[in-house]
């Protein structure tokens, strides 16, 4: 059997913490990695750095991990170098706030790529960098994408599972980002484990209905990419959404809360958009209504009665 050099060559776009973490995880699993970034990430013998999209296009599996604000521009530039044989997956949480397009929708409209996928699940950047055991989920309608991602990332410390419901996974990731604000808020406001669990279960149920309205599968929300991802936020005091939630519960204004989180949080603009979507499709979204109140500075004591109304 001849060696297939392209088989394990992976391109990673984005030199932020998440891009670096994914590059490290792939390198750990034995891949040769080329990263596209203008920053200087931590050194790794198996990771090459480039600022040329053509170099990335030499890899047949490309992982996109840039901020959602620039994803369209990045994909448009990358698209000049791609063709139909490339497999492209992204690890970007969020939906476009104007049309609720998923990142894979953007990928299809900005590049010739069809065989695409999305990454999700509870795994954290720090876990990937340090090789601590965790779990990730990949969504794609193409089994070869699931196989390629598993092949690229699965190692003794990372379990990769797959779902064909890519749309569901993308929606679940985005909605979990919104709900995580509520988790931080509730924790800071002193919600006990029972109340927190009730809030999370209710939110998951609501998100699952929204997924169905979005043309995805309910159960995707109930799995690793939805419930699993959300549960992790309980323990993640530094997750930007959780930080914002906690800051809001302390009575900070939204701007101050965002400043505290340092990172731009997509979920803030997404929440009103999800409420409009729910209204359009005539489904109830009480959790999102309350999240909108939280963003406007509502106090916990006024929200509790509404929860049980």
């Amino acid at each position: 059997v001849t060696a297939q050099p392209s088989k394990k060559h992976i391109g990673v776009l984005g030199g932020g913490p998440w891009g670096v973490a994914l590059a490290f995880a792939a390198a750990r699993a034995g891949a040769e990695v080329t990263m596209h970034t203008r920053r200087t990430p931590p050194h790794n013998d198996h990771i090459g750095i480039t600022t040329d999209y053509a170099e990335i296009a030499k890899a047949s599996l490309i992982v996109v991990a840039v901020p959602s604000t620039v994803v369209r521009d990045v994909l448009r530039s990358l698209g000049d170098h791609l063709d139909g044989h490339h497999l492209v997956v992204h690890g970007i949480r969020g939906l476009s706030t104007d049309s609720l397009e998923t990142v894979s929708d953007v990928l299809r409209s900005e590049t010739p790529v069809r065989r695409c996928g999305a990454l999700g699940g509870p795994v954290q950047a720090t876990e990937l960098v340090h090789g601590r055991p965790s779990a990730m989920i990949v969504g794609s309608r193409f089994p070869e994408v699931l196989a390629a991602v598993t092949d690229a990332f699965q190692s003794s410390s990372l379990r990769v599972s797959g779902t064909h419901d890519i749309r569901g996974l993308e929606w679940a990731s985005a909605l979990v980002g919104c709900v995580a604000i509520g988790v931080g808020y509730a924790e800071q406001a002193g919600a006990g484990p029972g109340l927190l669990a009730a809030l999370i279960s209710g939110a998951v149920d609501e998100c699952a209905r929204l997924l169905v309205m979005a043309g995805a599968e309910e159960r995707t929300m109930l799995g690793l990419g939805g419930y699993g991802d959300l549960l992790a936020s309980i323990a993640l005091a530094h997750r930007p959404e959780v930080v914002i939630g906690k800051a809001l519960a302390r009575g900070l204004s939204l701007d101050d809360a965002c400043a505290e989180a340092k990172l731009r949080v997509e979920a803030i603009s997404l929440i009103p958009r999800v409420i409009a979507f729910a209204k359009e499709h005539r489904v109830k979204a009480p959790t999102f209504d309350i999240l909108a109140e939280i963003l406007k500075g509502a106090r916990p004591e006024t929200l509790i009665p509404r929860l049980f109304a």
Partner: protein
Amino acid sequence: MTQAPIFGFNQHREEIVREVVQRVVAGQKDVLHVLNDAAYHETKRLESARRPDEVKEREEWRALARQLGRMGEGERRRRLTELTERYAWDVAGNFNPRVHAVSKRILPSLVTALLEPTMFLKNPSRMLDLDVLKSHVTLEGPIEKLRGLVENGTAVFVPTHLSNFDSIVFGYALEAAGLPPATYGAGKNLFTNPILSFFMHNLGAYRVDRRLRHNLYKDILKTYSCVLLENGYHSLFFPGGTRSRSGGIERRLKLGLVGSAVEAYARTLLAGKERRIYFVPATINYVITLEAETLIADYLSEAGKGRYIIEDDESSRFERLFAFTRKLFDMKGGVIVRFGEPIDPFGNAVDDAGQSHDARGRPVDPASYVKNRSGEVTLDSVRDAQYTRELGEAICRAYARDTVAMSTHVVASVCFDRLRQISPAPDLFTVLRQRDVLTLSRDDLAAAVCVLRDKMKEMEDAGQIRLSEHVRTASGGDIVERAIRAFAGYHTTRAIESRPDGIAVCDPNLLFYYQNRLAAHGLAWDQIAPPGMLPAVPVQLRPPPPTSGPVSRPESAVSTERSAA
């Protein structure tokens, strides 16, 4: 123009059938399972058969099922090959260039004879003139471009499907557009339809027996259409599977046979003789539909949901077809065939030279989609099924863009909306019971039609739908008049009727059928979204301008007369 491959079909038929049989038989890994599956489905289908030939067939299947367990592998393979050969020959169509030439001349004269029998007697030579159909069937779309593409590639025409009349109209449209004839899989029941079989036979149709549900038969059909595409036979599929029962445009497709296109293309690459495949979505739009009454009744009857084959609808009754064609051709522009922009099997746009372009207009090599990570062309049915699914979505989007809205659709949408407003309960079946209880004032109806039309014009400018010339330019009143004229005289009941006190809304079922054409666009009440798909979000209409006198709420212009129960 080079001759389309179909003109050499009879010489190749044996080769093609042999290739199909060879491929199907070689592709079966578990022969015992395949034969068992076929025997099971066939025995079940023939369970209550009475006809002697069917009884005999059933007994043969039962005998086969009994013997299978004891048979050696060699014997099983032999039986499989026999069966496959029998089915493949049954499927294989016939194309007779002589008959094709004759029928394409007979077709318009037959239609003319149906339409204007007196003129036929006066001047028979006029009958051989294709202009007769030309003035009644309007062709739209990038026809010049398509003519260029079929020279070097294989075209797969995928029109919407409303009526058994479609294959005649579309066959004519291809002819009139200067496009080559296409081979297509027509339901076997159509070959027994006394009127339509004339057109089916020898025009390149192959036979699809929808009663056969077992996997071997499906495999044979798929392989057959794949081999035809590989050999450059232009093909025609109605990817909706059956005629739209609701009258709505297809929003979900049955892509079984269409799915063979990616494989066919990959096989031409593997054989070193690439032949590109171009999908051409098309809409066939009628101001009235031949089988509207039967189809909507079938749609509405719970029991009818599983009925795929209707043997005795309007299309098999001569006098109904006669009345229909007369009505249809009486209305100028009553039929519009609109060809859409061609796309490759991966949903990319195709330019005049046959080159694919991605959504941002970059040229892309379609071969790259069937290559694996090492750059080799591979056959992969799971991958291809995903491409096909996405292609189906692209075709459905094209259907929406290329739907041509006509007066009957627009007027039905407005009338049905008014029925909803007066219905005592909001569910579909209550609304459908509001028969002959509502009369609308002419001005009110015309104004509401105008509001809807203006919104549709905006959508047309945005490329979301098309309007017929008449709907685009006529006044609201004229659109209503034209719809009344179209509804009168063919259908056994009137959908709406002009009365001294206004326009009476008579038959909700028919109105439902015609308004459904606009449901997917959100321009009519969407009660027909396929299972698992959300109804279209209704478009927001501005309220109609006040007609005259004091400003009144639109409802007040509606006069309702409830008949005593």
